[in-house]
Amino acid sequence: MKNLRLSAGLAIAMLLALAGFQGPAFADAKHKLVIQVSTDDVRTQNIALNNAVNLQKAMGDDIEIEIVAYGPGLKLLTPASPVSKRVPDLALYENITFSACGNTMKKFAKKSGKDVKLVEGVKVVPAGVLRIMELQEQGWSYVRP
């Protein structure tokens, strides 16, 4: 038993030491958080981004963050919003994702007669609310600033 514990301990320790030299695997991040942005209030949009930045700073590779924007909140991801300037830089973090609601984009396009332009680094999901629900079902935590 002692030997087993010792050799298992050695194996684990070596694996741990090796793991430190491999690239980060965000699919396995310890914590996952989806942040909802559904308002065009600039202050709230800024807070959502601040939350993401602070979490990134505090937890590093231990966290994966997805910011889902829909309804009036979609503006955050379009050049029309002053806050959207911050988005492309944040999207460069491997563990921060921005998702735009496809439904809202269609609605906006119909109203204005032209396609919605998104800032760089944003992906499109079919429906924002659905996306948040799916992530929660997969065990993600959820915050709405």
Binding site: R5, L6, G9, L10, I12, A13, M14, L16, A17, G20, H31, L33, T44, I47, N51, N54, L55, A58, M59, I63, G139, S141, Y142, V143, R144, P145
Partner: protein, 238 residues
Amino acid sequence: MTEINKISDEMLNAFIDHELSDDDMMQIYMAMSKDADLRAHVCDLRATRDLVRSAYQVSPLLGKAKRLPSRFPAWGLAAAIASLSLGGLLGWLAYPVWHPAAPSALVAGVDDPSASRVRVVFHASRNDADAFEQILDEAETLLAAKTGGRTANLVRIVANGEGLYLLSARTSPFKDRIQQLNAQHKNHIVFAGCSQTRKRMKRERGESIELLPEVLMVNSGVIELLELQEEGWRYMPI
């Protein structure tokens, strides 16, 4: 059994490095005096820090390597790996000694996922008195509901951003109600304020917010929300 013993590792590391304010240091000393698991955990963290430090002294890895070139980088690396491995091994081997029982008190407070109790964390991120009043009403209803003859539901109210004003000793319109709820449902309701927000307000607006005496200060409101949900708490934003 308290349910406010949840202190993040980040906070504990800052504690070990003496980087906290006197108040925060005191709070952790108090928590440690009551909690053997917490003491063991701090000891654990401290050991890890010391091992990492000694490894860095042999050969600085990562970013610092450029500034301090070693003539035998491979030896430094090997020593670092050996120290880390040794740390992991020691920790693993010593685990049964330091933790005679599972360290549940540190993680979950009074949470018991198998119980039928409802655990709800409310989130106040805006200074919206009407919405906050609704939260207090809902909390009161939850706490009044009895399961098996005793109050079993748990409520936490986490405030960050502008929501911090709702828990401020100077500006909260709900001082009396918070005090009364807290006294009436001790151990079943916790009000928590985000210390990151408090620091930011101090830095950006020169404003220092004193929180009501009933309010517990947590290092980060968002991390609190994240972790409670991971433990199975239901989340309700304003």
